[in-house]
Amino acid sequence: MSGPQKKPTGAPRLARRRVLQLIAAAATAPVFWSAPGIATMGIKRGPAGTATDPDLINPNIPWELQLTDAERLLLEVLCDIIIPADEKSPAASAIGAHDFIDEWVSAPYDTMAGDLDRIRNGLAWLEAESARRFDGEFAQLEPAQQTAICDDICHPPAAKPEHAEAAWFFDRVRMLTAMAFYTTREGMNDVGYVGNVPLDRWNPPPAAALKHVGLK
């Protein structure tokens, strides 16, 4: 995709991942701990009628979803333009980014109050712009045509005045798509997250690896 972009800085991605793989390799399954005999101490019981916390394991959406089918479909296409599949991870829609955004904009929180309007108006603009420039629905356009529209709005500081509002909309969708994607197993795997793996012993990585990432 063209358009003004800043070259990301930092260590080459592969090198960093290799280091993380080294950590993963050092991780083995058994958890090290030895608890002196307190397992017998407490009696597990609770007073009758103790309220339980809301069910955290089975997510439910306590508010009504607001987006229409057409809006959700369009959002799905947009999410995948923002985060497409590659050899390492799936596209944003595969992990339900568009569902997440629907839930998000439908929420009764003050902090999200403007988002429903912003995203709804933005989606409407996207359709109108597709019809005006390419005489078609956004979802049916050629990738190059979709890209052309996105290029106009994907960089808010550089957007033309008439695109300012659409750019703001796009910025929000991009942030929400990233938020949805990088908080899943698939997205965190893409970042190279090793995670909460038990180590039976702390094996520091080899000196060469530490040197490479600048720690020694």
């Binding site: 995709m1 358009g3 003004p4 972009q5 800043k6 990301p8 800085t9 930092g10 260590a11 991605r13 960093r16 958890v31 701990w33 608890a35 002196p36 307190i38 397992a39 101490m41 407490g42 009696i43 597990k44 019981r45 609770g46 007073p47 103790t50 309220a51 916390d53 809301p54 955290l56 394991i57 089975n58 306590p62 333009i81 985060i83 497409p84 590659d86 991870s89 009764p108 890209t147 994907c154 960089h155 500081p157 991009r174 990233a178 990088y182 908080t183 197993r185 965190m188 893409d190 970042v191 997250y193 995670g195 909460n196 038990p198 180590l199 990585p205 530490l210 990432v213 600048g214 720690l215």
Partner: protein, 559 residues
């Protein structure tokens, strides 16, 4: 011997109560430890400790429904999805406020030792002498020399990592090897060394995380997941440290679900005879007897308990003869500081997740510095690289967006101040008989606010750190002050203070209630002033010291 008779009763199993149980059982006393909440078994009850971030439906955040259920807890970060089970349910244990107080509690075995931030710093004589020097409140009845051996005693068992710095205002602990500063923090520290006459220092934070194994406990694995409970026992909690030691003596009886609601008092002998507890499971009221009682229910709850005791002699409760019980409520004020960007380290990244950061020891109103407010503050902070969350606007879309976001972002460095709050008689808690909790007990009413001294200090707390960052080489420096209400420091202190005179203090130099010398209060309630250091290490040391004195006095038949 009757089943309900012990040598000592300890009320509350948090940081203070755990230490009381350990010290008293190790000295041979038969100890009953009473905890009002449920059991939390070490390791096996740390249900979320090994969950992946994506296993939480709301990624660890909070939901709208939870906010409705927890109107008080939601005021700050404790309302979250990851360890919600360990926070008091607002609807079961309400409290009222004449002036706002954010109270974050944990009622279960281990208390807040499971969720605490583990920062551990000694007080110094600059703190113990502060009230006398400033002519404020009352003088501490002890000095650093009285507590120094007890700090060392508890540190060896708890395991505090840190670096030896030889600072008079922040005495060194007995340390395990420090978790080092990361490269950006180190650079900031060395840039800072030449500025401000060397008075403002960035040093490794001192925390109760092991860097070397202790019996039954493994060193920290650098996961920064402590408040889920540590499967390795690598941070100090009642469960990982003091409770196993107490259990090992064979002298401990632990009962959970016992809401202690009165210290029974004999007006003839002027001694407590034991405690009365409501069994939260059966609804039964049980009297337990003992020769000494250690009150370690956390500052405000210990005060609540005193206020409900011996009311036939003193209508306002045991310890109220001084007129100070419930008064002088303190905390540390925070949510103010600065942050900035550090350039030049783009080729370096973070490795592991250190459960600490850096600390800037107090430098204000010390060594000749003189401000228009009293006392001072320290800072806790860290430097880290931003992740995908930064969502930089220039990143575009598609494959390049994705590639860019998996690169670490810029290095940021920031901190929050921790400022001292002065003891003020008008900052207080009292019983509110008009509102009862789930079990029918009157609740606590808070009436406290920030004073002018604290508000003046906050200006420095923001500006000073901006100066520190600039001297340290940071760019794009911003200050912040996110409004603070007492309580949010989660360091409640002072409501049954120690002193030299029964007319103006609740406890003597050994944490004994003046009016009932076999009752010891060793949690934050006893603090005569607050210092600006995180206080729990001091509660540990005071508890161990008081336990030693209690046993000696028992042997001398003085109690």
């Amino acid at each position: 011997m009757n089943n309900n008779v012990y040598d000592a009763i300890v009320v509350g199993s948090g940081i203070s109560g755990g230490w009381a149980a350990k010290e008293l059982t190790e000295k041979g006393l038969k100890v009953l430890l009473l905890e009002r909440g449920k059991n939390v078994e070490h390791v096996t009850d740390y249900k979320n400790a090994t969950k992946a971030p994506w296993d939480y439906p709301h990624r660890g955040g909070r939901t709208w429904a939870q906010e409705q259920l927890y109107p008080k807890l939601k005021r700050d970060y404790p309302l979250n999805e990851k360890n919600l089970d360990w926070w008091v349910k607002d609807w079961e244990s309400p409290y009222t406020e004449s002036r706002r107080f954010d109270w974050f509690r944990g009622y279960h075995l281990g208390g807040r030792s499971l969720m605490w931030g583990r920062h551990s710093y000694r007080l110094s004589d600059y703190d113990f002498e502060a009230n006398a020097r400033d002519g404020i409140a009352v003088d501490w009845p002890i000095r650093y020399a009285d507590l120094e051996p007890w700090y060392a005693h508890v540190e060896k068992h708890a395991g505090i990592q840190g670096s030896y710095e030889n600072l008079p205002q922040l005495p060194d602990s007995v340390f395990q090897p420090a978790m080092p500063l990361n490269c950006v923090e180190e650079k900031a520290a060395s840039n800072l060394a030449g500025a401000f006459g060397g008075k403002r220092k960035i040093i490794p934070a001192r925390t109760a995380n092991l860097t070397q194994a202790l019996p039954g406990r493994a060193p920290c694995q650098f996961r920064n997941a402590c408040w889920l409970g540590c499967p390795y026992g690598a941070y100090f909690s009642t469960q990982s440290s003091t409770l196993p030691a107490a259990v090992a003596t064979g002298n401990l009886t632990l009962l959970t679900w016992q809401i202690v609601n009165e210290i029974t008092y004999d007006r003839d002998t002027k001694r407590a005879t034991g405690v009365r507890a409501l069994d939260a499971v059966t609804g039964e009221t049980i009297d337990f007897k003992a020769r000494i009682v250690f009150v370690c229910a956390s500052a405000v709850n210990s005060t609540w308990l005193l206020m409900r005791s011996a009311t036939d002699v003193w209508p306002d409760g045991l310890g109220s003869s001084s007129g100070e019980l419930g008064h002088n409520l303190m905390d540390h004020h925070l949510r103010v500081g600065a942050s900035g960007r550090m350039d030049g380290f783009d080729d370096k990244d973070l490795f592991g997740r250190r459960p600490g950061g850096f600390y800037v020891p107090r430098y204000r109103n010390l060594f000749g510095d003189k401000r228009d407010y009293l006392r001072g503050f320290g800072y806790q902070g860290s430097a880290s690289r931003q992740g995908w969350q930064r969502g930089i606007r220039e990143l575009g879309v598609g494959a390049e967006f994705k590639d860019a976001l998996v690169q670490p972002g810029e290095w940021r460095i920031g901190s929050s101040g921790f400022g001292e709050i002065l003891p003020d008689h008008s900052n207080r808690v009292s019983l509110n008989h008009g509102v009862v909790d789930k079990w029918g007990f009157p609740v606590i009413n808070f009436d406290a606010a920030m004073g002018e001294n604290e508000l003046a200090m906050r200006k420095d707390m923001a500006n000073d750190f901006a100066e520190i960052l600039e001297a340290a080489g940071a760019k794009d420096v911003h200050t912040y002050d996110n409004e603070f209400h007492p309580g949010a420091g989660i360091h409640e202190m002072g409501t049954a203070r120690m002193g030299r005179d029964p007319k103006s203090s609740v406890l003597n130099e050994w944490n004994q209630v003046w009016d009932a010398p076999n009752v010891f209060v060793t949690d934050g309630a006893c603090m005569t002033s607050a210092g600006c250091q995180n206080p729990s290490l001091t509660y540990m040391a005071l508890t161990a010291r008081a336990a030693d004195h209690a046993v000696a006095e028992l042997k001398r038949n003085n109690l």
